[in-house]
């Protein structure tokens, strides 16, 4: 939410639906947010809330069929990415926006060497020769703190450890000096210690090369040190959007609030972690009113009747709850 | 919707497949008018063989493919006239026989050359016949010379030369038999008895003569690509009329159907007509489709030592009246066979019409069945009718079963593959069986003696009639042709009356040859003499 820099990306009313035989799955249903140069935004939510689809929609990577971006705009550097031709969007992918994925074990092609895979976008987007591209790839490997880069360059993914692979993925995503990096749960599949290293690396790179980062995670804990703003999603919609401090300490939405309490934290002593009962709703058949209402500990009658709009609970803090403005009082009253 | 489209395509594909099949109905090729005949010298004739020849060594010529090639490479003392099957001299100028048909003296033509250029003399016959009978040669067809004196000693390894074969001089050969056998001279028309040059055998080794055959025939051997073809070329110094053709390539096919396809495509100049296409072939190729009666009989045998056939002549005769040979030949076999009411076919000198009075007469059959003790088939155990699979015997077998069912019998079919079939018949496990008999020589003896003489190994019906045995022996020692044939005829009538077999059909050749070919005939032993064949000027 830091509106202090130069605007890089604007997402407006993004709707991505999947057309299945069981019905239309509204995976992303009207999501809007902004990202400035060098800013780090965390997109948080449970599995199936639409955060990955949002990321894929930005790069127009939604498989069609069955998926389709139905509505909305993704303005990147003044151009609507959704209206670009195939050729043009490919110039953006990997070149201006890099992306890394959750599972480094499977995200690298097992039959090509690491070097080959890093070299590929460099050659394609920057038009470097094979030799130059190799030089650049080795530099990149060094940049992401992979030792013996020259030797590693020739190795296959299966010869790398998980953390190494994710570093290689990052190197690959950053190979063309993109302005923005989308990291889709970059550390989820890794050991806790490695997780921290990877997040640290992303944080460092973001600062050093003024990279805008869209960090997708279900785990608020890991973004604490990196992200400046947080977008909380639930059932394909934005339910809370604010800078990180506000979401952490002054959440205005019961879902985000519960999420905060489901994460173990160093700085707070809690007797037990909160768990959110039930499971995410079917995106085909959303419950009436607020999607979260069946699971919401504070739900009232209105919640299952009317869908709450996304409103400014306080300046710079958006929340989609009927009680957003007086959530603190309302929520605490119930909990204690 | 996608699936709808898919299903529609699926159904459409099926319907289309069926539709194509239905729409197509015999739109045969246009028959081209034959050009005016005019023999042309030269050319290469592609002759169809239906299997790989087992061997090209005369000592191993046993099956029709080997013999077809052998007939072109080798000549013998005598030959059969291609049209009448009567005996005519080949390398022999003439021959004489003594009173009781035990000694034959052949006078040879002079100046007959082997393919290697050397003249062939009586000594070469002596050498070649000895070689055939030598156990070291391991000939499976040495039996052609079995009547020659000294044969048994030779086979047993007790002698190294046939006692009964002598070269009196370069051009006189004397053959003595161990028993009277007037028809022996027919054996000398078989290519197994052809002469081969000793020096070639010694040069290449007896075992390899097969791959390097040299004879006195109208064509010389060039090459043999196993499973593919045998190439022969015209022998310019042939003692008889030299061939018109430059060369004959014997193409080896494993399957009649595919050969027929290639014939139609022009790759082959002749081939067998596959079963089921006789009528169509006749319509398409007219008189180039040759259906010539052959020297063979197709019959169902009854093991007369086994129940229920044993001592029940009426039952056996009933079967003979119950089968509709005419329909079998005309409809099932598409006219490609001749109804057989006797054993010896019409192509054999001595053939008698009406050897039996077995006609299709279901009432008579029923009468006989009742006389046999099984009125309307009651009391008769279920019969099993055996046949060997894969040779086109299925349809006749089913037809016979239908006929016998009509008679009131309970018949099941049992198909065996050839490998075990003969065994089962001889072991008496199959007592009602299909069998065919093709003879090596156009003589009545060759039908009656092997099949019905009580000690013969090929007597599958176990028929044993001392009277018939005596008659057959007598016939063999009768040098006078007419007398001899009369004896055979009588024996045939007796056998038929006793009905150990149900004769069904006489084989016919089923051969087609190309439009641009002349002089092509098919003989009763299912061969085509290549020296008579020529191409016609287009």
């Amino acid at each position: 939410m830091g509106a202090n820099g130069e605007r890089l990306l604007e997402v407006r009313g993004l709707k991505t639906y999947f057309h299945t035989q069981a019905g239309v799955v509204k995976a992303v249903d009207g999501v809007s947010f902004d990202l400035d140069r060098g800013e780090a935004l965390a997109v948080v939510g449970e599995s199936g809330c639409g955060k990955s689809v949002t990321a894929l929609s930005i790069l127009n990577l939604i498989p069609d069929p069955p998926g389709k971006v139905e509505e909305g705009e993704v303005i990147f550097e003044g151009r609507n990415l959704l209206e670009l031709s195939d050729r043009e969007i490919r110039q953006v992918r990997g070149n201006h926006i890099g992306m890394i994925f959750q599972d480094p074990m499977t995200s690298l092609n097992p039959v090509f060497t690491i070097g080959n895979q890093i070299r590929e976008p460099i050659q394609i987007h920057l038009g470097l020769s094979r030799k130059e591209a190799k030089q650049r790839a080795i530099e990149l490997l060094e940049m992401v703190e992979i030792p013996q880069a020259e030797k590693r360059y020739k190795m296959y993914p299966h010869e790398f450890s998980g953390g190494m692979r994710q570093r290689a993925m990052i190197a690959m995503a950053l190979s063309c000096e993109p302005m923005m990096l989308i990291a889709d749960e970059p550390s989820t599949a890794l050991d806790v210690t490695i997780q921290a290293q990877i997040m640290e690396l992303i944080g460092r790179l973001q600062r050093e090369i003024n990279l805008a980062v869209m960090l997708i995670t279900h785990d608020l804990g890991v973004v604490a040190g990196v992200a400046e703003a947080v977008l909380v999603m639930y059932a394909g919609k934005v339910v809370e959007y604010a800078d990180i401090g506000r979401v952490y300490y002054n959440s205005r939405h019961p879902y985000a609030w519960s999420l905060m309490r489901s994460v173990p934290r160093m700085d707070e002593k809690r007797e037990r972690l909160l768990t959110i009962g039930g499971s995410p709703p079917s995106l085909i058949n959303l419950p009436p009113g607020c999607s979260f209402s069946p699971r919401c500990p504070f739900a009232e009658e209105i919640c299952s009747e009317q869908e709450p709009p996304l409103v400014e609970a306080e300046p710079g803090h958006l929340s989609a709850c009927h009680f957003a403005r007086d959530f603190e009082r309302h929520g605490k009253g119930v909990e204690d | 919707m996608r699936k709808g489209k898919f299903l529609i395509i699926l159904v459409a594909a099926m319907v289309l497949a069926l539709g194509v099949a239905m729409l197509y109905s015999g739109c045969g090729e246009e028959k081209t008018e034959e050009k005016e005949a005019g023999a042309k010298e030269g050319g290469t004739f592609n002759y169809c063989l239906n299997a790989e020849p087992v061997s090209l060594d005369p000592a191993q010529l046993q099956e029709s493919e080997g013999i077809a090639v052998g007939k072109a490479l080798y000549d013998g003392l005598m030959d059969n006239d291609p049209d009448t099957m009567e005996l005519v001299p080949a390398m022999a100028e003439s021959f004489e026989t003594n009173e009781d048909a035990t000694v034959f003296t052949f006078k040879l033509k002079e100046g007959v050359l082997f393919h290697n250029g050397r003249e062939c003399t009586a000594e070469d016959f002596v050498y070649s016949w000895n070689r055939v009978c030598d156990p070291a040669t391991a000939s499976e067809v040495a039996y052609h010379l079995a009547p020659v004196k000294g044969f048994d000693e030779m086979q047993a390894g007790e002698a190294t030369e046939l006692e009964g074969v002598k070269a009196l001089d370069d051009y006189t050969l004397e053959v003595t038999l161990s028993y009277p056998y007037a028809d022996f001279v027919y054996h000398t028309a078989h290519p197994v008895t052809s002469p081969i040059p000793k020096e070639v055998v010694e040069e290449v080794g007896s075992e390899n003569f097969n791959e390097n055959p040299v004879g006195t025939g109208p064509f010389m051997f060039d090459s043999w690509t196993h499973e593919q073809q045998v190439v022969t070329s015209k022998f310019e110094d042939y003692y008889g009329e030299p061939a018109f053709l430059d060369s004959v390539v014997y193409k080896i096919y494993m399957e009649e159907e595919t050969a027929y396809q290639d014939f139609k495509a022009g790759t082959l100049h002749d081939c067998q007509i596959p079963q089921g296409q006789f009528a169509a072939a006749e319509a398409e190729f007219g008189d180039h489709a040759l259906f010539v009666p052959m020297m063979g009989i197709y019959y169902y045998g009854l093991n007369v030592t086994a129940e229920p056939w044993k001592d029940n002549k009426e039952l056996r005769q009933a079967l003979n009246y119950a089968v509709d040979r005419q329909t079998l030949c005309d409809v099932v076999m598409e006219g490609q066979r001749l109804p057989a009411e006797g054993i010896v076919p019409p192509s054999i000198p001595g053939y008698q019409e009406g050897a039996s009075d077995y006609t299709y007469d279901i009432d008579k059959a029923k009468e006989l069945l009742a006389e046999a003790g099984y009125p309307d088939g009651q009391g008769l155990p279920a019969l099993t009718l055996g046949y060997n699979t894969g040779g086109g015997h299925e349809d006749p077998a089913q037809f016979i079963q239908g006929n016998l069912t009509e008679l009131g019998l309970n018949v099941t079919l049992e198909g065996y593959e050839w490998g075990s079939y003969l065994d089962l018949i001889q072991a008496g496990q199959v007592t009602f069986f299909r069998m065919g008999w093709l003879t090596d020589y156009p003589i009545m003896d060759n039908f009656l003696y092997p099949l019905f003489q009580s000690a013969s190994v090929d007597n599958f019906t176990m028929y044993n009639n001392p009277e018939v045995d005596a008659m057959l022996e007598e016939a063999r020692s009768t040098a006078d042709e007419d007398e001899r044939l009369e004896l055979y005829r009588e024996a045939e009538r007796i056998i038929l009356e006793e009905s150990p077999i149900v004769p069904l059909m006489y084989y016919k050749t089923s051969r087609v040859y190309a439009n641009n070919v002349g002089g092509y005939i098919r003989t009763a032993d299912d061969l085509s003499p290549m020296e008579r064949v020529y191409f016609i000027e287009e």
Partner: protein, 333 residues
Amino acid sequence: MRLPDHGGPEDLMPGKEQPDLLGPEIEEFELELEKEQIHGRTALWSDVWYRLRHNKLAIVGIVIIIVLFLVAIFAPLLATHDPLYSPLYDSTVSSAEKAGAVKQTPNSEHWLGTDQLGRDIYSRLVHGSRVSVEVGIVAVLISLLIGLLFGALAGYFGGWGDSVIMRSADIFFAFPTVLGAIVIMTVLGPGLINVFIAIGVLGWATIARIFRSSILSVKENEYVEAARAMGASHARIIWKHIMPNSIQPIIVYATMGVGGAILAEAWLAFLGLGQQLPAPSWGNMLSEYLVYYTTDPWMMFIPGTAIVLSVLAFILLGDGLRDALDPRLKGSV
């Protein structure tokens, strides 16, 4: 993990897949969708039936199979003629009529025409379905019996028995199938029962392999350990605990195996080693009519289409079953 009722042509494919490039969360979401919304419960066989029911190609297969079975059961009622009757054998029929009785093209009297002996092809086709059904079922049962027994012995007990059995399976694999069938049939002689045995015996190795490997994967599971700890007998453990959990690929293979057996009957008949004549079987009919493929090609399309359709049906059902039983199961064609 797949969209609940995907029924596109890809259902034919050995390895069933899901829509590509969906993010992981979509897949998880779909799982939820299947479990909760559609089924409400997780009983296996109802799941299977549900998925199968929504696979149109499998339904096509099932329909053909049902028709095949109905035809086989009610063959005598459906046939318009005695499948063995031919006017050629009939002494009351004139010879002119006999000459015209064979190889008639389809007409109102003979719906699919008559064969080379003048018999009604339609009636022979209807009766022939019985042979196909019998061969399919019996041969597969024999394969199952041998294959499951040896597979269970090998997989469950391991050790040298395992080695012996699996090496024997290797031997059967290395043996060219057609040749194996020919040799077995020449040993046994022709006839329907021997066709069952030959086809059945040749199929055991695959089933043993599949069953063994699934037993190996199930064997170490906790519930098996638990059963063993409670002193259950080997037979009981295999039957009660391992079987239900390893049987799925076997069911798929066996279903397709029925189609394979129908096909095998056909080529055995072609080699003259099949069902004894004159009883009609599709294999016999096809090889009989094949003779006339240049003069009367329509004939061979009748048994040919029947064979293809019924084999197709079992393949479609097998594919459908595999997807329905376990969408992730792969490669056991």
